[in-house]
């Protein structure tokens, strides 16, 4: 039996979705990790400020946020593929029958 190749849009979407998941996981681990290690139970007197933000917020959230914005730029322009979404198909039959039943009827 001839096996049809996978839909290219599915292949690229899945690859991009997995990449996004990894980026989310890294961002979550980094941000929560840095803020927890550096910012939790900290004495206000020991804080230093970077560009007006407390150090733990600057390195734990502001920097990765800027990094993610940059990643969004790279993803949007160089990583995510442009795919043909296909022609608009006529909608499936509007009665309650399943396509299998429709095929039988045909």
């Amino acid at each position: 039996m001839k096996v049809r190749p996978e839909d290219p849009v599915l292949t690229s979407s899945r690859r991009e979705a997995l990449l996004v998941f990894v980026i989310w996981l890294l961002a979550a681990s980094y941000s929560v990790g840095v803020c927890y290690a550096w910012g939790y139970e900290r004495d206000a007197a020991t804080l230093t400020y970077v560009l007006g933000f407390p150090d733990w917020i600057f390195w734990g959230v502001v920097v990765p946020w800027s990094g993610c914005t940059l990643i969004c730029f790279v993803m949007a322009n160089f990583v995510i593929a442009d795919d043909d979404l296909g022609e608009e198909q006529a909608e499936t039959s509007l009665d309650a029958a399943s396509p299998a039943q429709e095929a039988k009827r045909a």
Partner: protein
């Protein structure tokens, strides 16, 4: 806070006397209403050129990057309303709480966006239930999706009508109130109790009618007429364009305010230091010992932050939970999915990612700065929900030509725009659920375009009328239902949508099980939270129960995933022909 109930913060206390918003807020609201109706009429002309269902409920898949980026995930400006008050009250820890918005553009469009857009084209789907029905060839999957959407979104939408009416009311010059909040239960008039002594219901109704605030009623009527009116004439495009308008207005307002705030405090660092000093000083004034006051100030400047009841604001488990919550809660909401389905092509999705990334960064970080500046300038606000409008009034005071009133008007009108946009998009999803997914699918598949159009109008007017009727005597504790519905909706649809996009072996039964399990887990935790709050004697303070310290959404999503996989595996594999149509190359 995804789709929050926005309620009135009662009028300012005497201690917080500040300049009045004047006529600016009212004028801004009227301008906003006029702009929305105008957008509705333009949208109508576009819809008239196309087939009714596709044009009216989906704008003929013609959305560009700006509309997708600024409306598909930024659906409710509610985030902007509750969020500033949290920063003002709890300090820097709230930056970590909201920090996961750094990845929302990617998760919002990069995970399911392209596949949803493709599947909807391949199947001709117009609504979310259409997608599930066509993917599995299962009317049951479509029907369950429709019913869940109709129930959850109706509850959330009705609550927004009350919020809209209240904003209209407080925009009236001289009311003294400045903001809406998510937690304060409004009391437009003292609640009348049914007379148990045996008076007729007519008398009770009359008594209650007398106690209803008439300004609130006028607000309710204007709000309902406007939002139902422009949605009815312009459909999906009117909803999306109004949403875009409010997102842009919010952006302009925040940009103006952050510059004014930083100039007033001479930079962020002096403001941040002063804010912490103020917290310590206020604690000392309240009779805390110097050590206790210093500890409270440290919690403002660092983690995990303190709630008013002394519990921790963001312990480690919740910090992680919120990194899951914002990116995943709204990703597969019916209103988002339908907008992604309406995108023009994949280029639009790509551009949306970057546009939204810039937008989020330029909204949230400046909002945080404004609130920290506010804590340094006016640390003792009795109503923290008023922090943004108060900053707007204080910072624009003394501007020439009454400019201050206009700027603060924009800021005050933004929540109104956000509520209108939310109601409008929900109204469409509910109407499409009833007309397309129930009537056209199950009752009258041969219905003509004219018939569907007429029915859509009737349904929208009926929903509007019911919403107004229910809000004439506002229901107490409506917040309970809103929390319940938004939790269930977020838990119910994400996993089934991912399964639909990527898993060949997923079945209709598995999908239905995933939806119901997500909703059930979320309901169970919400009800547990409610029972605990009732036992404590404070039912209005309730929040969903955080099992093992994790946000309920995580439990909802996990239950949904497990149920979806298990039930799919034990049920008969889906029709290979159907799967092949959506998973294999043409």
């Amino acid at each position: 806070m995804l789709e929050p109930l926005l309620l009135l913060a009662q009028s300012a206390s005497a201690a917080d006397k500040l300049p009045s918003p004047g006529i600016g807020a009212l004028v801004a609201l009227i301008a906003f209403i006029a702009a929305s109706v105008w957008l509705g009429t333009i949208a109508q002309r576009v819809v008239e050129r196309s087939q009714f269902i596709k044009g009216y409920f989906q704008g003929n898949r013609g959305l560009g990057a700006w509309t997708i980026a600024l409306t598909a995930t930024v659906q409710s400006g509610g985030t902007f309303m509750g969020f500033p008050s949290l920063v003002y009250t709890h300090g820097w820890i709230v930056v970590l709480w909201i920090g996961s918005y750094m990845v929302v553009p990617l998760t919002g469009f990069g995970v399911i966006g392209k596949r949803i857009a493709q599947i909807s084209r391949r199947t001709g789907a117009v609504t979310m239930p259409d997608l599930f029905r066509a993917r599995y060839g299962s009317p049951a999957a479509g029907l369950v999706t429709s019913l869940l959407i109709i129930v959850f979104m109706t509850i959330m939408m009705f609550a927004q009508f009350k919020a809209g009416a209240i904003v209209m009311k407080i925009a009236w010059p001289g009311t003294g109130a400045l903001a809406i909040s998510e937690t304060v239960e409004p009391e437009p008039a003292a609640a009348a109790k049914p007379d148990a002594e045996g008076k007729g219901s007519g008398d009770w109704l009359k008594a209650k009618w007398k106690e209803v605030d008439k300004v609130y009623l006028i607000g309710l009527a204007i709000f309902a007429l406007t939002v139902v009116g422009y949605t009815l004439i312009g459909g999906f495009l009117a909803a999306v364009w109004t949403d875009l308008l409010q997102s842009v207005m919010m952006f302009i307002g925040v940009m103006i305010l952050v510059v004014l705030a930083l100039v007033a405090t001479r930079g962020l660092e002096p403001a941040a230091r002063k804010a912490v000093e103020n917290v310590e000083r206020l604690a000392l004034e309240k009779g805390k010992s110097p050590a206790e006051a210093h500890a409270i100030a440290s919690q403002y400047a660092a983690g995990p932050g303190l709630r008013a009841d002394g519990t921790l604001f963001l312990p480690l488990t919740m910090a992680f939970s919120f990194f899951c919550f914002w990116p995943y809660a709204g990703m597969a909401s019916p209103a988002s999915v339908v907008r992604i389905m309406a995108c023009k092509d994949t280029r639009v999705l790509r551009q949306s990612i970057f546009l939204l990334a810039i937008y989020n960064m330029c909204i949230y970080l400046p909002l945080i700065m404004i609130c920290i500046c506010a804590k340094s300038m006016m640390p003792g606000l009795a109503k923290p929900d008023e922090v943004i409008p108060r900053m707007a009034l204080v910072l624009t005071e003394g501007f020439p030509l009454g400019l201050g009133s206009w700027v603060s008007g924009i800021i005050l009108a933004a929540p109104f725009g956000a509520i209108m946009a939310t109601v409008s998009s929900y109204l469409l999803v509910i109407a499409s659920g009833l007309v397309r997914d129930v009537y056209q699918r199950f009752i009258s598949p041969a219905a003509t375009e004219h018939e569907l159009r007429r029915l859509t109008y009737v349904v929208m007017i009926a929903i509007g009328a019911i919403a107004v009727a229910l809000n004439v005597f506002p229901v107490k504790h409506l917040q309970t239902f809103v929390v319940f519905s938004s939790g269930c909706a977020a838990s119910a649809f994400l996993m089934p949508t991912i399964m639909m996009c990527y898993w060949r072996r997923a079945t209709a039964a598995g999908t239905i099980a995933a939806m119901l399990a997500g909703a059930a887990a979320s309901s169970a935790l919400t009800l547990t939270g409610l029972v605990i709050a009732i036992q404590k004697g404070k039912p209005s303070d309730f929040h969903a129960y955080e099992l093992l310290g994790f946000e309920p959404l995580l439990w909802g999503l996990s239950s949904s995933l497990v149920a979806g996989i298990l039930v799919s595996l034990i049920t008969r594999p889906p029709d290979e022909k159907l799967v092949s149509k959506l998973f294999d190359a043409a």
